[in-house]
Symmetry: C2
Subunit: 132 residues, 2 copies
């Protein structure tokens, strides 16, 4: 495989040097989450074969699953027509992508004009991350 | 249905007043595109039942399909745990979401270290938009 760095260079990074990255379950198609990547995160994602994001709140690389064990194994990587968004098809280890203990971060649906929680907590976040 | 405006107010709009919005085929689960919404675009999306984005390049509301006819009918609207990303399940009229005439904007896949075009052009963009 050619080095990813030259391919990463062709993306249109925003003014913060980031692109949005969508993680989608490679088998069910469920959209699990959207987070952000800088160029280093994208390159590491490809090299390590697992989703690695840039945490905007922490200002640091975020190896998804490093605390929880809920790693996202990379199955496929795509970019869009404008080369400013990444789409990953992943195998979600532990079946939990969300820090709330749910499968997907998109667990709130607009129903009758209000956001309704539609998806169950599969594991208590305290059990995932430990009590602080 | 309650007015969407109060629900829209609860989202975390970025410094430009925008959130990323993912459009996903409501039946196949295919991710079709990612674009951006401001608060007005989100409210209009709900009120009109079709995807309406904010075009960052044009600095104007973008009624998806207004030129091409390839409207995205809204089937379901979700937000994520951080309330800073929108996920729409849509019916893609005309089966073409991308301005290149492809079904999805994510038609480039990383293969052997290079971005490869994997999906066919279904309709010539000149036929969709007319010659300029």
């Amino acid at each position: 495989m050619n080095d990813i760095s030259s391919q990463a260079a062709s993306l249109k990074w925003n003014e913060q040097g980031l692109v949005p990255a969508i993680a989608q379950d490679w088998q069910t198609g469920e959209v699990l989450m959207l987070a952000w990547m800088n160029r280093e995160a994208l390159e590491l994602t490809v090299r390590e074969g697992r989703a690695i994001y840039w945490s905007r709140s922490r200002g640091a690389l975020w190896r998804k699953g490093e605390s929880s064990g809920n790693v996202q194994q990379l199955k496929e990587l795509r970019i869009d027509c404008d080369a400013d968004t990444v789409l990953m098809k992943v195998e979600q280890v532990g079946d939990i992508a969300c820090h709330t203990g749910r499968r997907s971060c998109f667990y709130q649906r607009l129903e009758n004009g209000e956001w309704q929680v539609t998806d169950p907590v599969l594991q208590d976040p305290e059990a995932i991350y430990g009590k602080s």
